[in-house]
């Protein structure tokens, strides 16, 4: 077990390193660098800035040095906790990210929990009552949920919110709490604003999960062990929950790991539309501006979360599936 954990740790570090290298290269693949993008932006607004200023900017961020030098400079900073400076914001990357990482996690976890809480019971119902009216209704709603892009749903809901209830459903905080430091009131305000974005972001995942759960469970319901339990006199409800549902849930444990980055990259546009203070819009902006330290840091954080999440989901899988547990130990 200990050897297994150690092996995973080494692999995790290697994966993270690969992620940073790749993201650093890919961010710089487009022609030009941050200063070019910055210059183009300034000349569009007709501002007069001297050539010298750009040169000093390039030197300051080492943009005139080869790429591996830039990378090594950045990485040596990372090891001492300094993730570099965001060229776009002229602030340290950590200050720019600030609460956004936590907000992203809260929102994503909210979306995941909502997704599971809605999808799993419906999936179970649809499988147990296959081809019933309820199953058809949920299937219909599910396919609509899959088909409607979530940013469109966000726009529609915002419009309805404005016209019918005269309220802004965007953001995660009311205006009065926006810039406040954390307090109980702010937490309550967050909890009040959280469900709607979480539902919108989780919608397509919910529809997908219903189908997956239904299919998994239908497979399991046909297995002989269900007949064994039925013949033993268990009531239908308790036997379905104890055996086939339990087995059908196993595959979900393996998806926990990459749910977080999956939801984040899937929700960038929704976050922009709803004006959510999450990492998504920040990542988008930094990529457009070629702000490589900010983008690199965000991608690295996502990579770290994925690696940690995958490890946790492997542990979870070992815990709930004895077949995997015994294979690992041997």
């Amino acid at each position: 077990m200990l050897a297994y954990a150690a092996r995973r740790l080494v692999l995790a570090i290697f994966t993270l390193w690969t992620v940073t290298v790749l993201s650093f290269i890919i961010i710089q693949l487009p022609p030009g660098d941050f200063v070019d993008a910055y210059m183009a932006q300034l000349s569009a607004t007709q501002s007069n800035v001297s050539e010298q200023h750009f040169e000093s900017l390039r030197r300051q961020y080492a943009l005139d040095r080869p790429m591996y030098v830039q990378y090594l400079k950045w990485m040596s900073g990372v090891f001492s906790g300094d993730f570099g400076t965001s060229m776009m914001w002229r602030k340290s990357v950590l200050d720019v990210i600030g609460d956004r990482l936590a907000m992203t996690m809260v929102l994503s976890l909210g979306a995941i929990i909502l997704t599971w809480a809605i999808a799993l019971p419906i999936g179970i119902y649809s499988a147990v009552r296959q081809y019933s009216i309820g199953d058809y209704v949920f299937t219909f709603i599910g396919f609509i949920g899959l088909g409607v892009p979530s940013f469109l749903l966000a726009l529609v809901l915002m419009y309805l919110g404005f016209t019918l209830f005269d309220s802004d459903i965007g953001g995660l905080f009311s205006p009065e709490y926006q810039l406040e430091p954390w307090s109980w009131g702010k937490v309550k305000d967050l909890l009040y604003h959280l469900p709607l974005p979480a539902i919108i972001i989780g919608l397509s995942g919910t529809a997908e999960l219903i189908r997956v759960m239904r299919a998994n469970l239908l497979d399991e319901l046909r297995k002989p062990y269900v007949i064994t339990a039925r013949a033993a006199g268990m009531s239908e409800r308790s036997l379905v929950l104890k055996y086939p549902v339990r087995v059908a849930l196993n595959p979900f444990a393996s998806t926990v790991g990459y749910l977080l980055p999956y939801i984040l990259s899937g929700s960038v546009i929704v976050s922009v539309v709803l004006g959510l203070p999450t990492l998504g819009p920040l990542l988008l902006g930094s990529l457009v501006a070629q702000d490589m330290f900010l983008a690199g840091t965000i991608v690295m954080m996502l990579g770290a979360l994925t690696v940690i999440g995958t490890f946790l989901s492997d542990l979870l899988l070992m815990w709930i599936d004895p077949r995997i547990r015994f294979e690992m130990v041997q």
């Binding site: 002989p224 013949a231 006199g233 077949r323």
Partner: protein
């Protein structure tokens, strides 16, 4: 324990059909037989002749879109002080609490596939304890002691450790033993064993059959043994029911059915068993043709298209009925009783 006149289970004219989009499949089409305490009833027939559906019908767990459409299943329950009472299982709702108190407690099932008949993610002990506590008032501790006892009863070595084992850690034979232990957890009076040895190798088969026989000697339960293997029937059964396309074609004590088989189907089945006395390198006799498609049952006697003794004009027009041809020996064939004149 033995009581020949009062069967523990009587099945009368049972008909179970599956109502699919393509048509109605008459999986069981008028089966009648009786099972007695302390005895083994063997039900034999080719695949798809309705043996397993008969078992599921008795337990009231026929999967949709199937259901029992006709007939009676009577179970004799003990009411204490030596008295007993017949309960019509067919009139109880499948999911009624009375039916559930019978399933597992009075009638238990050992299903045909030991590989998949136990949940892969629960320990053997967990599953036996769960089943035992459904019908008996036991604490977890008592139930787990019972589980160990049952597992050693069915011959699983180191039973204390085996209750913490998962099914995938046991061999096929041990899994089948564990399944039998599960079925015995509430001391059933009727054990339905549906192809209990089909998935096992021959040595293990013999061990499992020995186990079933010794368990029956110990607690006097009735066993309904479903198989396609005439050898297993010869070794185990007291009474034999031969089924073809959901109907009983011949029925009687095992020696009579094997020694003086009357129905052409039974005779063909017996001929197709390889014998140590047969001439080497000669092909075994087979039954010509295949089982008709269930949507397309032949008119008259269902066996007539494959029957070596078919009487054209009779067998394809009239349905034979199960009638006596001797002491407890019943056959449904026009070779042995007159053709009804009034039928169409």
């Amino acid at each position: 324990m033995q009581d020949d006149r009062q069967p523990i289970l009587s099945v009368r004219n049972l008909k179970t059909s599956f109502f699919t989009d393509e048509g109605i499949v008459r999986a069981v089409d008028g089966a009648s037989f009786e099972v007695h305490l302390g005895q083994t009833l063997g039900i034999v027939g080719e695949s798809g002749c309705g043996k397993s559906v008969t078992a599921l019908s008795i337990l009231g767990i026929v999967p949709r879109p199937g259901r029992i459409v006709e007939g009676e299943i009577l179970l004799r329950r003990e009411t204490g002080n030596g008295q007993s009472q017949e309960v019509a299982l067919t009139s109880l709702g499948d999911s009624s609490s009375e039916m559930r108190s019978i399933r597992g407690a009075e009638i238990a099932l050992v299903f045909q596939e030991p590989m998949t008949s136990l949940s892969p993610v629960h320990t053997i002990g967990n599953q036996i304890i769960g089943a035992a506590r459904l019908h008996r008032k036991l604490t977890k501790q008592e139930a787990s002691e019972l589980a160990v006892e049952l597992l050693s009863l069915v011959g699983i070595p180191r039973a204390e450790g085996a209750i913490d084992a998962y099914p995938f850690q046991l061999s096929g034979g041990l899994r089948q033993r564990a399944l039998i232990a599960l079925a015995l957890s509430c001391d059933p009076r009727l054990l339905i064993a549906d192809e209990p040895t089909t998935a096992l190798d021959v040595t293990t088969q013999a061990q499992i059959l020995d186990l079933l026989r010794s368990l029956q000697e110990q607690n006097g339960m009735a066993i309904m043994l479903i198989t396609h293997d005439m050898g297993v029937i010869a070794e185990m059964a007291d009474q034999v029911v031969v089924m073809y396309l959901g109907r009983v074609v011949e029925e009687g004590p095992v020696d009579t059915v094997f020694g003086e088989s009357k129905h052409p189907y039974t005779q063909s089945l017996l001929r197709s068993i390889p014998s140590i006395h047969s001439t080497p390198k000669v092909q075994l006799p087979t039954i010509t043709g295949t089982i008709p498609h269930p949507y397309n049952r032949p008119a008259g006697c269902p066996f007539h298209p494959r029957c070596p003794d078919v009487m054209p004009g009779v067998c394809d027009h009239h349905e034979p009925e199960l009638q006596s041809v001797g002491d407890e020996h019943l056959v449904s064939c026009f070779l042995y009783h007159p053709v009804p004149e009034t039928s169409s």
